[in-house]
Symmetry: C2
Subunit: 197 residues, 2 copies
Amino acid sequence: MTSVEELPARQGRAVRVARGQALQIINTHGTQVVDFWAFKPSDLSIYLSMQHTRAVLSRLTPRVGDVLVDNLREPMLCFETDTSPGVHDTVIPPCDPARYAKLGCPPDHASCADNLHRALAALDLKVAECPASFNLWMNIPVRPSMELEWRETVSKPGDSLVFRALVDCIMVMSACPQDIVCINAGRPVSAHYALLS
Amino acid sequence: MTSVEELPARQGRAVRVARGQALQIINTHGTQVVDFWAFKPSDLSIYLSMQHTRAVLSRLTPRVGDVLVDNLREPMLCFETDTSPGVHDTVIPPCDPARYAKLGCPPDHASCADNLHRALAALDLKVAECPASFNLWMNIPVRPSMELEWRETVSKPGDSLVFRALVDCIMVMSACPQDIVCINAGRPVSAHYALLS
């Protein structure tokens, strides 16, 4: 039986996913952006790379059926299913303490970068730098002028994605705590996830 | 008097640029992509960040007048002049040995990532990982479908850019050695650069 776990609002979680297993990520309320990363447990300096994935796919944003690669350009994940309209982002960095300081927030404001480090620490793991994230459901249209817009998600409550591990992985999720810019409809909420065989 | 130096075809160079000084980069033949990076000499883990610059500008590609930021979202460079049509790229990673291995090239094929490491080594400096580069003159149109195309440059011989240092910097350039994909018109050539007061 598959156990569905909560990804609490404004928090992160890291999950060990063996080769062949998959992680389902559920946008429970439909309005939540989830920042996503993956690392190789045998060498955390090898991680899911958005820039290398863009080059391998010749596309700005992965879609169902795509193989996502690591920073050595090797296959890491298969983007297996997506019940949402497929609007996700790879060009905006995870929010971090510097982002909220510049937005005038208090220094204890949660951030996706801090959530990554805390989620890994819960598995006794540590990385020097927070890599670029795959920003699930984040709606950043690119205008022909190359301008970027910051919009609310276009997903429905209960939409979900599945990433199949092509190698042993540590997958990390952060329920984005952004409550100043409108990307989470102004109200960060929880999401859910399930490890699938 | 300003001294113009050669950036030889398929090679990299690193230059110390003090706060207030600027680096001019010249597309001598018009067809050459130059990968560009900047680092803080006092702490090489702080570097020009394409993803944070995109977020700060809300634009995929910087243009004249923009301030480019580091990975702590602090101002690092001013993009002061650009005589070319302003077609540059921030979404494709620097080419690296893995890229050429997958293209079937011999293992000694030059790459922008290797050029970065060698250029820094010439200043007795070392970084663990090659950051995302600002790919000057690289022509990667983004289609409304989010597909990316790989095209030749649209610059003219002699076009140049100037980056003014807002803090002390080490700026690094690589004359991209890509000779399989058409981005350099099939023939990697030299470029030039000059340190301006």
